[in-house]
């Protein structure tokens, strides 16, 4: 396995360029299905293969908390441009993750926080993690989708 250079202080974009040059994309078949709105179909989150390669390799991606800080900045009414991009570039990168840990990171980064923070509050889960073969592939199904109330939860 190729060794990751010491990337702390290197712009995240440059790290991703290194990864694109040196790492094989990893096609995960894990999907995250979640509901965000009573009238909307369930949404399906698909991890990017090049990003997954970075997550599994380690030493490339910033802690997910860095993204949260930038998101907070962007939600301010007087936001114009990011001024704390260094949080992505100068924070110690996270180490290698398992596929499951990478999906957990991705959920915390890309799924709205009001979903993953309260995914199992209420009468039924709002979010499930599954494999691609468990997903109906036709749109006739998907636009009518809701997460099955009898679904067996995986710890």
């Amino acid at each position: 396995m190729i060794e990751t250079p010491k990337f702390k202080g290197t712009h995240l974009f440059a790290r991703l360029m290194w990864a694109k040059e040196n790492l094989e994309p990893f096609q995960s078949d894990i999907r995250v299905v979640y509901e965000d709105g009573l009238d909307d179909p369930s949404k399906i989150l698909v991890p990017d293969p090049n990003w997954m390669a970075c997550a599994l390799q380690g030493g490339i991606l910033p802690p997910v908390e860095s993204y949260w800080e930038l998101k907070k900045d962007e939600e301010q009414p007087d936001f114009k441009k990011h001024t704390r991009g260094y949080l992505l570039h100068d924070t110690e990168p996270v180490g290698p993750m398992t596929e499951e840990e990478a999906i957990e990171y991705l959920i915390k980064k890309d799924v709205p926080s009001h979903i993953w923070k309260t995914w199992n509050d209420g009468n039924k889960p709002k979010m499930v993690i599954c494999r691609t073969h468990q997903l109906p592939s036709t749109r006739e199904w998907r636009n009518a989708w809701k997460i099955n109330e009898d679904i067996e939860l995986v710890a």
């Binding site: 712009h11 995240l12 974009f13 991703l16 360029m17 694109k20 994309p25 096609q27 999907r31 909307d40 179909p41 949404k43 399906i44 989150l45 698909v46 991890p47 990017d48 293969p49 090049n50 990003w51 970075c54 991606l61 993204y67 930038l70 998101k71 962007e74 936001f79 114009k80 441009k81 990011h82 991009g85 992505l88 991705l106 980064k109 890309d110 691609t132 997903l135 592939s137 036709t138 749109r139 998907r142 636009n143």
Partner: protein
């Protein structure tokens, strides 16, 4: 003829800006001309990423709707997006790709693509959709 072998180009006056002589006396700028993210997606069946750069995930948000999330954030949501789409679905080769600006406006880390049948303007999942991002990184 000579070959320039180099790993990093850095501006002398400003490290993050390199001018390239354009037409006539115009100076163009190297950094402003580079795509900061790109993606090739299959939006049919269970959606998938064919290849990409600087993307963390995509999300199927409904027929013809896909959220794309950026890994190395842009400086704001005012970047420029371009894209195209195509499909193998019979009688549906006339599709077009656009970007959501009202319901899901671009942010520094997310944009939404919309693919539609050009003939009747209904949303359509397509076999190929492509998007590129130009602008400033955070």
């Amino acid at each position: 003829m000579s070959t320039l072998a180099i790993n990093t180009l850095t501006g002398q006056t400003s490290a993050s800006s390199i001018n390239v002589r354009g037409e006539g006396s115009a100076n163009t700028n190297l950094q402003q001309g580079l795509a900061k993210a790109w993606i090739s997606m299959n939006g049919t069946g269970t959606i998938a990423v064919r290849d990409s750069f600087n993307i963390t995930s995509i999300s199927d948000e409904g027929t013809g709707l896909t959220n794309v999330t950026i890994a190395s954030d842009m400086s704001d949501g005012n970047y420029s997006l371009s894209g195209a789409s195509g499909t193998y679905i019979a009688n549906s080769d006339n599709v077009r790709l656009g970007f959501s600006t009202e319901t899901t406006p671009p942010t520094s880390t997310l944009f939404r693509t919309i693919t539609r049948e050009a003939n009747d303007d209904t949303n359509r999942d397509v076999t190929y959709s492509f998007a590129q991002v130009f602008g400033d990184l955070a």
